[in-house]
Symmetry: C2
């Protein structure tokens, strides 16, 4: 319940309160919280209440706030819950409510390192079948460790940023030499991303139990992929230019505390995992994505059955002593469910381009210039309802590349 | 010629003038230039001369200076050359010379994204034979593009930082399941790293001709590698925990302008490369590394015959429109020459551990706890002499990990 008017069906109910960085006119970008269709401008509210650290909300990224750690995150959440639920706060807060339609959103986090996992069994199986049709689709290591790799942090872009179609090398299977040109198999990857707040120490692994001490919350991730570039380049050192041209993330970071209502037990893992990946209370989140191509729903991947939990991803990422920093982002990898309309990429939805999708009367395989792709997502509470716990959306439109030589 | 006394055999002659970040007592870390066995404390010298931008040298990384771009780099080099060669500058500079033995060096650059290439044909052939003994050692893409991947920027450490032996999953070839424990095949990779100063624009590739507009200079890189972790994890998405625990870089960044004396034409490439990788004046640098295990020389890899030039690496890295940022580091990959004593890793020097090296009367395969590994390097001028053009050194000692479960 809130004294703020929240439209029916809003993703940003009174217990969600995600944080982002907004621009309002010519003012400096700063931190806000979303509620309904408005933004709470947090710096002046915190200043009016003479809170310590009000300046952290006047910054153009969440990093300084994220570095404070979980006790401060909890205290901030409790403060926000009070601001929106306690009508005695109305006089203080109301002057600092801004319609979301009046602001622009930018990257919420200055991303340090970006790691992408490969944690959906259905997706890894589909890609194995498509990329290596003559072998077992899941490689021998897949159920023993969450496979992952480093992506390019410097090309993570805010939702709404146009995506320039990448060029690069690709080689047709019947060609003897590669050619260079605009990607003809431009794709999406629907993912959930975890934002690290509290850094860890070099040489000290983070245990699965310490996940919530380090991770603040989640964003939606669209890891744009050029499948033709990727297929030619990826052996033996993994994806590089097929992914590095752009990764879009959603503007609002939803906290683990808000998501707690949608936590579900991790499905059983067989074979059993090694002790450093084992835990008593491993969870996923009951989140469903919706993928829209030019406004038409084409897929609804479910997150809840992902094979690897985010706590296991973090434990694995640091098992060798690698440290994490404030602003690190690690993503789940493409989320695909068992049904055809639950696949999280077009290479899966169209089975390598061989089975076009009919969208609004037109056949689609990979992305064409001008296509607009939007991913939204909702978390469900324990009663099965959406409860105003949305993750918002991440969107981008394909523009033609300028170079074709 | 310099009025500063430079010891015979110093890597830091009067035309080298590399930049780094030093700590002196309790003072704030700041930028210095190396000459002989001394450091020029640049901020007070620049202030005394009332130079614009003197504050850039008072910062704890080179990033702000690097962002200025090539005209400023050239002007700064000319200023430094004058400071050390013109005896009229002696009264200004001498009070700000500090012995290198009195300072500590830290990371010179706040690293943005880190990319590691695989540009030595001899190394890629050796690793192919060792990791995939039943296939052709060079994969079909290798001579068409400089294969590369993203590494972990947050675990790049200063020379001298102890390296904690990583733990992780590995699976023996005759085992049915993996185990977790301390790496038993801890290795080095001897590389040259290129430091980006001038950023590029997202969506706009950087041509091979624009290499010197973006890259400021070079550092030595030791990309520590756990071969047992790497062998088990690396399919299909490439190396991850086998590399991400630590990468050491040398403290002094040698500028391309200083290195110009050692530029050599790139060897012919066959098959011919695609137009975006072709250029008229592609060069390598005539640099020779020296690898010391506990003070004993074990290898001398030559850089000059590397298959891919650094300008091609940058053009490829950005061919898909990916942008580079100030502070980006991209490394050559392990440098190995054709001779056994020119190999740049122990997995090559000992052929997978099967042919131990005899070092100071003891057999060595992979690194043991307490081992100290130092890489130094020298560039040669056109007359074949070293000309005081050294890159300094990068060093690290292995300490036992604390965890073995």
């Amino acid at each position: 319940m809130s004294w703020i008017d929240i439209p029916d069906g809003s993703p940003f109910g009174p217990e969600n309160l995600p944080l982002g960085v907004f621009r309002h006119g010519d003012e400096e970008p700063r931190v806000g919280a979303a509620i309904g269709d408005q933004v709470i401008d947090l710096a002046p509210v915190a200043s009016a209440q003479m809170l310590d650290g009000a300046q952290l909300f006047a910054q153009p990224s969440l990093n300084a706030f994220l570095a404070l750690g979980r006790p401060a995150w909890r205290a901030t959440r409790n403060w926000l819950l009070d601001l929106v639920s306690n009508s005695a706060e109305r006089d203080t807060v109301e002057p600092h409510l801004i319609p979301q339609s009046a602001v622009g959103m930018q990257l919420p986090v200055e991303v340090a390192d970006y790691v992408d996992f490969y944690a959906s069994e259905q997706h890894a199986t589909n890609l194995g079948r498509l990329f290596r049709p003559d072998s077992e689709p899941l490689l021998p290591n897949w159920k023993h460790l969450p496979v992952g790799y480093h992506g390019r942090a410097g090309t993570i872009v805010a939702s709404g940023t146009d995506i320039v179609r990448p060029s690069g090398q690709r080689k047709a299977s019947d060609a003897t030499v590669p050619t260079y040109g605009r990607s003809q198999r431009l794709d999406i990857e629907v993912e959930l991303g975890y934002v690290v707040g509290t850094p860890s120490t070099l040489g000290k692994p983070v245990s699965v139990e310490d996940f919530e001490e380090h991770v603040y919350g989640v964003v939606l991730v669209n890891d744009w992929s050029a499948r033709d570039l990727q297929a030619w380049e990826y052996v033996p050192l993994g994806p590089f230019l097929g992914k590095s041209f752009a990764t879009s993330i959603s503007p609002w970071v939803v906290s683990l505390d808000a998501l707690a209502a949608s936590a579900v037990p991790l499905p059983a893992q067989d074979p059993p995992v090694l002790p450093y990946l084992a835990g008593k209370n491993l969870v996923n989140y009951d989140i469903t994505f919706e993928v829209y191509l030019n406004g038409h729903l084409v897929s609804s991947p479910p997150y809840r059955d992902l094979y690897w939990s985010p706590a296991q991803m973090l434990a694995h990422l640091t098992a060798n002593g690698a440290s994490v920093r404030t602003g690190d982002l690690y993503a789940s990898g493409t989320v695909s469910g068992p049904e055809k309309n639950q696949r999280g990429s077009f290479i899966e939805l169209t089975w390598g381009g061989r089975e076009p999708l009919l969208v609004n009367g037109k056949h689609h395989t990979f992305l064409e210039d001008g296509d607009e792709l939007t991913i939204s997502a909702w978390a469900r509470g324990s009663d099965g309802s959406r409860l105003g716990l949305g993750l918002g959306e991440v969107t981008g439109r394909i523009t033609p590349g300028s170079r074709d030589k």
